[in-house]
Subunit: 357 residues, 2 copies
Amino acid sequence: MSTPPSSFSSSQRKPATRIRSTAEFAKYVGLARTTVSRVLNDQPGLKEATVTKVKQAMEETGFTPNAYALHLKGKKTATVGICMENLLTPPAVRKLARLQQKLKERGFSSLIEVLTPGTSKEVCRHFLSLRVDAIVFVGHFIEEEIAARVNEFNSQSTPHVVIDQLGIPGANSVALDRVKGMKIVIEHLIALGHTRFGLLGLSGSTRSIIDRLSGIESALTEHGLSKSESILTHDSKFIRKNDFDYGRALASAFSCAKNPPTAYVALNDEIAIGALHGFQDAGFKVPSDISIVGFNNQDICLMPKPVLTSVDQGIEETVDAAVNLLLDQIDRPSIKPRTKMIEPILIERGSCARRKK
Amino acid sequence: MSTPPSSFSSSQRKPATRIRSTAEFAKYVGLARTTVSRVLNDQPGLKEATVTKVKQAMEETGFTPNAYALHLKGKKTATVGICMENLLTPPAVRKLARLQQKLKERGFSSLIEVLTPGTSKEVCRHFLSLRVDAIVFVGHFIEEEIAARVNEFNSQSTPHVVIDQLGIPGANSVALDRVKGMKIVIEHLIALGHTRFGLLGLSGSTRSIIDRLSGIESALTEHGLSKSESILTHDSKFIRKNDFDYGRALASAFSCAKNPPTAYVALNDEIAIGALHGFQDAGFKVPSDISIVGFNNQDICLMPKPVLTSVDQGIEETVDAAVNLLLDQIDRPSIKPRTKMIEPILIERGSCARRKK
DNA sequence: CTGAAAGCGCTTACAG
DNA sequence: CTGAAAGCGCTTACAG
């Protein structure tokens, strides 16, 4: 372990009088508030001795100037409010982690809230009362709700960016091109000779699902396959849960049916892996009998045997683009709303193979 | 989908003049700042019509009072600073999610930063300049560094709690009883007839590892087993990575050795699952030939076949205890530092069985 | 090189 | 029931 930096020192000093304002602190040092303020802000033209004296007194007392008063004087808060759909799924968390890191690099602190339906107005008000410099949404929310917030942001010129959710009018947004994401999956499978596809968890009427289904259809159409004959689903038989067990359940439903598809496309990696195990339990070999593709390219893709082919979201690229959109708005308040699409990348691993004759 | 709540309304109003202070706002409404302030704070004794007029103007303008000025008047910030070791491992994230939720329920906002070695002083200063009501650490940090921060907190009566890291003098802390966590694992395996144990990733000199090893030893001693004969490890052969692949590598190292142990205890679930697959690849049957126990009881325990026995950290209990410690300190600034230990629970699944004769 | 005064956006006695 | 004035903790011209 390397030598501890200097921030470890002074740990054993005695309890100091708690100083709460520059006024008290200035009295403690024996200087005027003005002078103290200048030292705290690293302004030039101060006597060496004065600077030393003040800095030492700061160490002694642990005094920290009140950032709130500072902001009152017109200083930016350098704070960004982040609204998360959830903090439990790995992709969401990776986005948050990256976002927090990138914002920090640019000097911004992150305020984080998890949104439940109907709370966005209250949460954004709270963020605005804290005078955040920008607001970020990460995930999928009720469309009308976010649209209303974005409208408010635009009428107040509040910098913002919506990550992952398309279709919000007037919003600055960054999102994965999910249409393309599914298209490349189906094209990959078609190239391997597959013509009939089982969908795992890909049902519903959210924008995200609709986009993904339309990507599938467009690939099928381009290769002269009909949707009705090429696509099978069993989602309607279960309550969708998006986890391993759900994937297993779907796999067993497909296994029992006669003439099951040879290729499967999943909503996410969890379902894909559950299904992979389900098919293996039912006696199918993956990938020789059955090919499976996941979505999100999470760490767990490396866990099953064979390792799972999956679509990578480009989380880093997404977040970095979002941060850029944000900074552009902060720099130029009059800039027009923009949408940036991120290209998905198919990560080929061991779970897909050429269809057996 | 249910009817959208009222927060969706007024989304189409025209861009309003941006009002930034109660002064401007009061002028806009045609009342004195005092009166406006009273409405904003729901104070009694106001004319019905006045209240309506102000509230309506707030909707029209989107005006939000500046929380910073408010705090200057002595109001608590109702903000907590959270220092995370990382935002990438599922247990850390689950703690953060729970913490954020529980704090929110109590009316506190969460400021979140990821700490890298040596940055704690700067980060805490920043939090204190934002006048957070408390500071929380989640994870394992350099001991001297956290100790220094805790010392500062105590000399300033700053409410704080350290989650997961024991051994910080004077700290309020909550942590899993890792000694006991390992003890119950070994006792479980001994009860199944195992006498020789392979350790997977359990090496190093962090407090957390030392505690876990001491739990193992204490269980062995109590059952008359000697440490040197009962414990095997291959960690020194690899660079530890705490992931699936590392578990696989360890499994193959154990498989090649003559007379390998029949029971394995892992640092975490990832390593355990990697090893489980590694042993299966090498021709061992789990659990009939080999028993494996993970740690953390993450979702992925349900993924392998057989499903993985693991130790549950009691994350909810941990975080809830931490929040209580925090609130106690906020209510009673003079309260003595306390440490709360959380009892681990062994979740028995399919990866352990009685040792074959 | 240092200090006294004004002002940022609020709330809270104190008047009316 | 409503309003004018003081003050919270800072910084920034403006003096000296």
